[in-house]
């Protein structure tokens, strides 16, 4: 009898002690994240949305001008040029990256010294971008740079890497590729490591060649990781700022003025309402692109 009452009391008190604490606890644990998020992400986003309907230049009262900023941007050649520049950089970077990273990851899968190779491949991702941008400026200088030096020493014509529109885009794209491909390789390695070896074994017994194994086992089984790589690449390219900012300053003749740099121009011009509208368009763009890449690759996975 005594034990029964005791047990009941313990159970009740355990419940009494546990319940209120457990109820408050999760909120206390997420509170710092939520507070910082609310103050420095959510509030600014709503503020930007509000600003995007004004012609605010940084001082005075907010004057609502409706959709004028959006109308201006969507009919502005400069805005579309910046989007097109980001699009061209996407074409130069993402397909090459997927191809390179997948090839390297497959080679790495069965190789020895995997740790060593992985470390070498991811080193560019770790090095400060601003430092490497300086190196790029110096290596790709038209007259004195090491790249043209190398080209002419083997009898090839030199290239205006930073002085021509196409050259500047390629130079920026090469920097992005160089810095981020190793990261993609490591992501793909993680994806590949989840494929059991006996799947390949079975295919080999059925007489599948190496190419066939690659296309019908490796590629389909890493589509999830591949889509992740594409999404990350897309986000990177459409948010590209520091690379063109430091290497080309957006030039020559705005050839490398990406969506991000065009946005930054509104800040330096104090066109804050317009800049906010541009930000909103960029959010929509980036979300749409991410969702589209996920959708596209998922439908391939299903078929």
């Amino acid at each position: 009898m005594a034990t029964l009452t005791e047990a009941a009391t313990t159970r009740r008190s355990a419940r009494r002690v546990r319940r209120p604490r457990v109820r408050a606890a999760p909120y206390l644990f997420v509170a710092p994240f939520i507070l910082v998020f609310a103050a420095f992400s959510a509030y600014p986003i709503f503020f930007a949305l509000q600003l995007s309907f004004t012609n605010w230049h940084g001082a005075g009262a907010l004057e609502i001008i409706g959709f004028a900023n959006y109308r201006y941007l969507l009919t502005s050649p400069d805005f579309w040029q910046s989007m097109a520049t980001s699009g061209v950089l996407w074409l130069l970077v993402v397909p090459a990256q997927v191809l390179l990273a997948l090839t390297i990851a497959v080679a790495l899968r069965k190789a020895r010294f995997r740790g060593l190779f992985s470390a070498a491949l991811i080193a560019p991702f770790v090095t400060p971008l601003v430092a490497m941008a300086q190196v790029w400026i110096i290596l790709f200088d038209q007259d004195f740079g090491a790249v043209n030096h190398g080209l002419s020493s083997i009898g090839l014509p030199t290239i205006g890497w930073l002085t021509t529109s196409a050259g500047a885009k390629v130079t920026v794209a090469l920097l992005v590729l160089w810095r981020t491909t190793g990261y993609a390789v490591i992501l793909l390695m993680a994806g590949l490591s989840t494929i059991p070896a006996d799947v390949y074994e079975a295919a080999r017994i059925d007489g599948a060649g190496a190419w066939q194994q690659f296309w019908s086992i490796t590629v389909p089984l890493v589509t999830r990781t591949l889509s992740f790589v594409v999404v990350i690449g897309t986000l990177t390219v459409f948010q590209l700022f520091a690379e063109p900012y430091v290497v080309t300053g957006g030039g020559p003749f705005n050839a490398t003025r990406t969506a991000g740099l065009y946005l930054y121009k509104h800040i330096t011009n104090s066109d804050l309402g317009l800049g906010a509208a541009n930000s909103m368009l960029l959010v929509v763009m980036v979300l749409a692109l991410s969702l589209a890449s996920i959708r596209l690759l998922r439908s391939r996975e299903d078929s």
Binding site: V17, R18, R21, R23, A25, Y27, F29, V30, P32, F33, I34, V36, F37, A39, F40, S41, Y43, P44, I45, F47, A48, I104, V106, L108, A111, G115, S118, A119, A120, L121, I122, A123, P124, V126, T127, P128, L129, V130, A131, Q134, V135, I138, A146, H149, Y183, I186, L187, A190, F238, Q239, A242, Y245, L263, Y264, I267, G275, S279, L282, V283, L287
Partner: protein, 280 residues
Amino acid sequence: MKLGAAGRYGLLTLAGVVSLAPLLWMMISSFKPGGAIISSPFSFDPGQLTLTNFRSMLDTIPIGTGFRNTAIVVVIKGALTMIFCPMAGFAFAKYAFPGKRLLFATVLTTLMLPTLVLLIPLLLEMSQLGWVSTFQALILPGAIDAFGVFWMRQVIMAIPDELLDAARVDGAGELRIFASIVVPVIRPGLAALGVLTFINIYNDFVWPVVAVNDEQHQTLQVMLSALAQNIRSGQLGADWTSVWGQLLAASTVAAIPVLIVFVVLQRHLIKGVMAGSLKG
């Protein structure tokens, strides 16, 4: 894909060399006399190496201040991230509470939110708070990391509930459970998050360049970019032989600390990157 051993190692070696060559070139060239960087970019003559570039760089930028500022930001912001992420991850992994789905959806949306979008409103917020060119501005807005929360949640989900319940029966409070059971168990994951966080904060450029406009609070990366811009606009003279050497010396100095951390802790980093894709 028939590669064969020779092809496989050939490819990997080529990829490795391409990855490391620009870094090595930067470091070696920073010790070369300015003229040699231009006239013989691929040569290496140990007898020629000099510290001239580093000395003239010290005269041009207050690199000590840059290091101090970067250290302050890295330590405080890094510490906050490393505390806040596992806390939030713990709540999402181990509790059921009203609003959980909505809050977690918020975390996931933050993952996709372009940093650039926040640039203008955040800058205005800083000026309203009177925080432009302060350490608060550099530290607080980035003191959380949605990827970190997401990932810590994955790591903490693997901890068996029985372990936590046993501690509760023994009378441990929730905070106690977090501090003395969860944190020790997730230490490897936390270490990887630490390396990633250090690298991200140390290399951060976009926000510091916007939020700070005095030299007193400039981080190393911003200082380096400002130096390059002064050089390009001709403020330091147009003698390429001397300015390129300086620029490479400053770049090397800015890269060395993060490369040392990387070499020592790269296992953790690679594990951290892999965790990003494994269980999506």
